[in-house]
């Protein structure tokens, strides 16, 4: 395994530049920077541009964050405003912050 291979592959599905999408992206970026610095990739997919991608990841709510890697796939829907829920959802232990 390559060392620079990101440990976390995250996909954020949005539909246009809405306030909710912007909030979600900002929140996600913040958590990643805090807990997963250097280990993550975020791919933002705008379904208004590529609607055909919605079916593959079974997207019905917007915004939806999908953790593609590591397996198993996890989904978090909403603007990701609840930090704890997002971390639990992504299976990231906020060790650094709480201890």
């Amino acid at each position: 395994m390559e060392t620079n291979h990101p440990k976390y592959e995250l996909r954020l599905y949005v539909a246009g530049k809405t306030a909710k999408s912007a909030t979600a992206f900002a929140n996600l970026k913040r958590y990643c920077e805090e807990y997963l610095k250097g280990q993550y990739v975020i791919e933002v997919i705008d379904l208004l541009v590529k609607p055909q991608l919605a079916e593959g990841d079974q997207i019905f709510a917007i915004p939806t964050l999908v953790r593609k890697v590591p397996e198993p796939i996890r989904k978090i829907i909403g603007d990701l405003s609840n930090e704890e829920k997002v971390l639990v959802g992504l299976d990231i232990r906020p060790v650094l912050k709480n201890v």
């Binding site: 079916e55 997207i59 709510a61 603007d79």
Partner: protein
């Protein structure tokens, strides 16, 4: 002028709600054209009542019959599951997908792999549906079952708002939507109260079991802006999908034919004004057990086939083979009609399914086979699956339908009691046009059959009781003997006939004897007359002789006197 007409036409068109035919047999008649076009329709009902099938049939028929592509958004079943589930109905979903007439979109919602945090909306679903619609130019869409969203997502407030937006959005898209919803415990039609979002058309499917027999029913609860049938209509799911039975012809405006159809028993025809039943009329043959009802019915069937008409025979008691075999004993060959396709038997036990289901099945078969004559043998058995009232209502609808189609129908009914005036025969006697009754006449230690015509609308008919005889040559009717001892039938009638024959011979004999005596007397008298005649002749002769002598004497004495006179004068 033309402009005004156009305007009027336009207004008329506006007044009428545009409808999308579902292609489901019977439903479009019921709703006068289908479900509202471009609007959502809610199909609700309990589990297993046929919602998904309804939805898929709507899509498939739309694609095949009306060339309207459709999207099926499945929240419950995966596309391949769905495909194999409906393959038994002859729907090839894969093929339709290839032809771009159908798109199945499976929306998988699993609560265990979803975490919710903060605000969200269902734009993802909108985009997916929108993409699916646009990709094939869909005119129809099904959401089956959208309530599954409630199981997967916890924020009800968002869901409800989003659903309302979804239905509005579908309306704006102009697609005709069918939304299925499962009926829950509560008083509402659906668990999540979808009916409050879908307000244009709501159809309730129901699956009821009464006395161990299930009947599916459909009811249009609401149809904004359109007339619709409000009753519960039975429907059936079989190898051709759903069929709803819309018959309750409330109007009694059927055509009345004056054409006659022979019954196959010539003496019976003679009793019915000489020409048989009216075409498109209904005939009830009732009687106690073993009076030959089936024989009469078979006779009618056979006669119809002989004339080249089709006959559909619903047998509820015997199997077709049994009937064919039994009828050969009275010299009737039904098998040849079965073979050439004119006669079709449909045998089923009444308890196979509910009354309504029977009705739907019959309806369908009649529509397919297009018979000239339909026979139900016997309707009495239907009572085992419904109350008298139910049976009557079912038969009313059946008769209405048959008369509408100008099909002559014959029912047989078993009367359980022999008292005529108590006889209701499932109360259908008032519905039928001709009521023939076969009764046992017990007399002189034997049982014979008497046939009456209780009524026959619109034709002069015999009021006489005829004896109904079934022999190995067939069916015959003979006049019963009405004598001083009452009605005589069977061997008593035969004895009476022989007695009469004997009397006639004796009588004839007496007459001859009397004739001869008279002859003799005449001869005696004649000889006497001859004797007297000769006596008279001899007497006459005697008299004549004396007279001649006297004449001669007179003549001679005159001559003598003249001679004497001459001599005295001295010449």
């Amino acid at each position: 002028m033309t402009k005004e007409i156009k305007k009027e036409k336009k207004q008329a068109a506006l007044k009428q709600l545009a409808k999308t035919p579902t292609g489901i047999s019977g439903l479009d008649e019921l709703t006068a054209g289908g479900i509202p076009a471009g609007r959502p329709t809610l199909i609700c009902g309990e589990a297993g009542c046929g919602k998904t099938l309804f939805a898929i049939e709507f899509i498939v028929r739309g694609a095949l019959e009306f060339n309207e592509p459709g999207v099926f958004v499945a929240f419950e079943e995966k596309a391949d599951e769905l495909t194999s589930n409906v393959a038994s109905l002859g729907f090839d979903l894969d093929d339709l997908q290839k032809k771009k007439l159908l798109k199945i979109d499976y929306v998988h919602i699993d609560r265990s792999e979803i975490e919710e945090t903060g605000e969200y909306d269902l734009d993802g679903l909108f985009i997916r549906i929108g993409h699916a619609i646009d990709s094939i130019g869909a005119k129809r869409i099904v959401l089956d079952t959208v309530e599954n969203l409630f199981a997967g997502l916890s924020n009800q407030a968002i869901l409800r708002a989003e659903l309302r937006r979804l239905f509005q959005w579908l309306k704006n898209k102009g697609v005709t939507a069918v939304i299925t919803g499962e009926r829950g415990e509560g008083p509402g039609l659906t668990r999540q109260g979808l009916e409050e979002y879908v307000s244009d058309c709501v159809i309730l499917l129901d699956h009821r079991v009464s006395e161990q027999i299930s009947t599916r029913r459909l009811r249009v609860i609401k149809y904004r802006g359109s007339m619709h049938g409000t009753n519960e209509y039975p429907f059936m799911i079989d190898e051709d999908g759903i069929s709803v039975l819309p018959v309750t012809a409330l109007k009694l405006n059927k055509d009345a034919s004056t054409e006659r159809v022979p019954s196959g028993i010539p003496p019976l025809d003679r009793m019915l004004g000489g020409r048989g039943f009216y075409k498109g009329s209904s005939i009830l043959v009732s009687g106690t057990a073993g009076t030959g009802k089936t024989s009469i019915a078979s006779c009618f069937a056979s006669e119809t086939c002989k004339q080249g008409g089709r006959c559909l025979y619903f047998a509820f008691e015997e199997s077709p083979k049994q009937i064919v075999r039994n009828m050969t004993s009275i010299d009737m060959d039904l098998q040849k009609f079965v073979d050439n396709g004119l006669l079709k038997f449909h045998a089923s036990r009444p308890s196979l399914y509910g009354l309504e289901q029977h009705l739907v099945a019959m309806h369908k078969m009649i529509k397919q086979f297009k018979p000239r004559v339909v026979i139900f043998d016997p309707i009495t058995n239907l009572i085992t699956v419904g109350s008298v009232r139910d049976v009557k209502s079912m038969l009313t609808r059946l008769i209405d339908f048959l008369l509408d189609e100008q099909i002559t129908v014959m029912f047989t009914a078993l009367s359980l009691n022999t008292i005529v005036n108590e006889q209701t025969d499932e109360g259908v006697s008032s519905l039928v046009d001709t009521w023939i009754m076969v009764r046992d006449i017990e007399f002189n230690g034997e049982r014979n059959r008497g046939l009456y015509i209780m009524k026959s609308r619109g034709m002069s008919h015999s009021n006489q009781v005829r004896e109904f005889i079934i022999t190995d040559k067939g069916i015959d009717l003979v006049d019963v003997y009405l004598g001083p001892q009452g009605v005589l039938t069977g061997s008593a009638r035969e004895a009476q006939r022989l007695q009469e024959l004997t009397n006639a011979v004796l009588h004839k004999n007496t007459l001859t004897m009397k004739d001869r005596e008279l002859d003799r007397k005449r001869k005696v008298l004649q000889s006497k007359i001859a004797g007297l005649q000769s006596e008279f002749e001899s007497a006459e002769e005697e008299l004549n002789k004396m007279y001649t002598e006297e004449e001669l004497v007179k003549k001679v004495s005159e001559e003598n006197r003249l001679e004497l006179l001459k001599r005295r004068s001295g010449e």
